[in-house]
Symmetry: C2
Subunit: 284 residues, 2 copies
């Protein structure tokens, strides 16, 4: 299926993957080269799993999970398959984030360091709890077939917004974590003298911001939204209501059954974008 | 002019104003009660202007500037007036942010503290520079009448996205600033013992995140977008092109000249939302 602005999409997607991958590599270099490596010993090596798992799971994998519907190569796959992949990637991200929390709590407890006093810890724990809640609500409302279409319609804009906002909050919390850690460990030479570790880890912070900017841009372009199609689950369980809500889109697909629209600017294509799954006009 | 979901909008707007105002009050209490007040002496009292001006200008006023088009009471005002208010508020925010930078550079220079070594400083300076660039581009492309409509069409989604992304980045940078400052100053009792100042200032951080969440939600709801109308400036300078790009919207307004649409769910109202200023479907 043709995608409007396909080349631009591809360029930004490759950039996002590259910058996200670089963020993970930079985090690994930070802990392996500058911070003495990884271990599960209750000490600093165990703490080091915290940034590695957070950047890999909660930043990089979460970012990919957000844009997975927008890959045009997946538009021929069923919506159910794509929802399962979206939920699966988010579940992996949540598990890695929880293990990352275990690492830092364990490190604190073994070393008798207080837990949960910093703004980073408050915001980070809130983000993990809300992320798990978002995952569970998404599972019951959108993946399982039982939720009424009216509930899905109300929940979809909230689900999309919460997802993007939590992603941004996770990146902000990571930046605060980098800030805390550098002030803790860079004493001689001090962080304020801009030693190589300071410059290197600041650059990691900028890479995460750039990754966030690319993912959020890709995720909010209306022209790159997965084209609407009658959702078989919806139609099975709520045929009449789903048909009514999806309005002109269903008509449009019926008029254009082969779906391989050769002209990305055609009227049919534009009408495909006129309403989203919930019957609302939305880019998010 | 009627607004869909007006009560919800009003509730969220009042919440945003309250939370934003509380953030400013919390910042003032922080510096006046816990951090010995304000001054312009090259010392800590001068530094204290940095958080006060950043939270007031770069967070609160920038947030209001973002949603000013969405206040339904302004929908009868000309687009040019609203653009001027939007640009004016963003100019005030930029000036306050620049004075806040002067305060911290002056404080560092007087006390021989290095500048620009932390991730907070890198991201914060980048945000101020990009914000001023955004303001200048917005002024020349959207406020002055000379830019061709095709340039406006290309620039509008970028302008809107950059604005929202910079707003989020500014809040993230503020959270990093709070984190840095609390680790610097809370030594006895230490930040890790959760003294009142730590708890109070962490709460300020959460308030700023909540303010960001409310502003970004209001700014991205399609149903609260200012209804499209023929832009007199556009039509004067680029009549034909503007007419072509604004398509069905212009037709719709011609069919409904009194504009005081009594039914927020009418077809005419819905079509008002079908295309934005640039002829694209966009909620941002």
């Amino acid at each position: 299926m043709a995608m409007e602005g396909y080349r631009g999409f591809l360029g930004l997607l490759v950039s996002a993957l590259l910058v996200g991958f670089l963020s993970v590599i930079f985090t690994l270099i930070w802990v392996l080269h500058y911070r003495k490596g990884l271990g599960w010993d209750g000490g600093a090596l165990e703490f080091n799993w915290h940034p590695v798992l957070m950047v890999t799971g909660f930043v990089f994998i979460q970012g990919i999970a957000i844009i997975v519907y927008r890959l045009p190569w997946t538009w021929r796959c069923s919506k159910f398959l794509m929802k399962s992949i979206h939920a699966g990637l988010n579940t992996i991200a949540a598990i890695l984030a929880i293990v990352a929390l275990v690492a830092v709590f364990d490190y604190h407890n073994v070393g008798s360091i207080p837990n949960m006093y910093s703004l980073h810890s408050w915001l980070g724990l809130a983000a993990v709890i809300l992320y798990v809640l978002q995952l569970l609500l998404g599972f019951f409302i959108f993946l399982l077939p039982w939720a009424p279409v009216s509930l899905r319609a109300v929940a979809m804009p909230i689900h999309v917004y919460s997802g993007l906002f939590l992603f941004g909050t996770v990146i902000a919390t990571s930046l605060m974590g980098v800030t805390e850690k550098l002030f803790f460990v860079l004493k001689d030479p001090a962080y304020s003298t801009s030693p190589p570790e300071g410059l290197f880890t600041n650059t990691l912070g900028l890479l995460m911001v750039l990754f966030g900017a690319l993912i959020l841009w890709i995720a909010t372009r209306p022209q790159w939204k997965r084209p609407k199609e009658p959702d078989s689950t919806l139609l099975q369980s709520n045929g009449g209501a789903a048909e009514a809500m999806e309005g002109s889109v269903a008509v449009n697909l019926a008029n254009n059954p082969d779906k391989s629209d050769p002209d990305p600017n055609s009227e049919a294509r534009k009408r495909n974008f006129a309403l989203d799954e919930t019957g609302q006009r939305s880019t998010m």
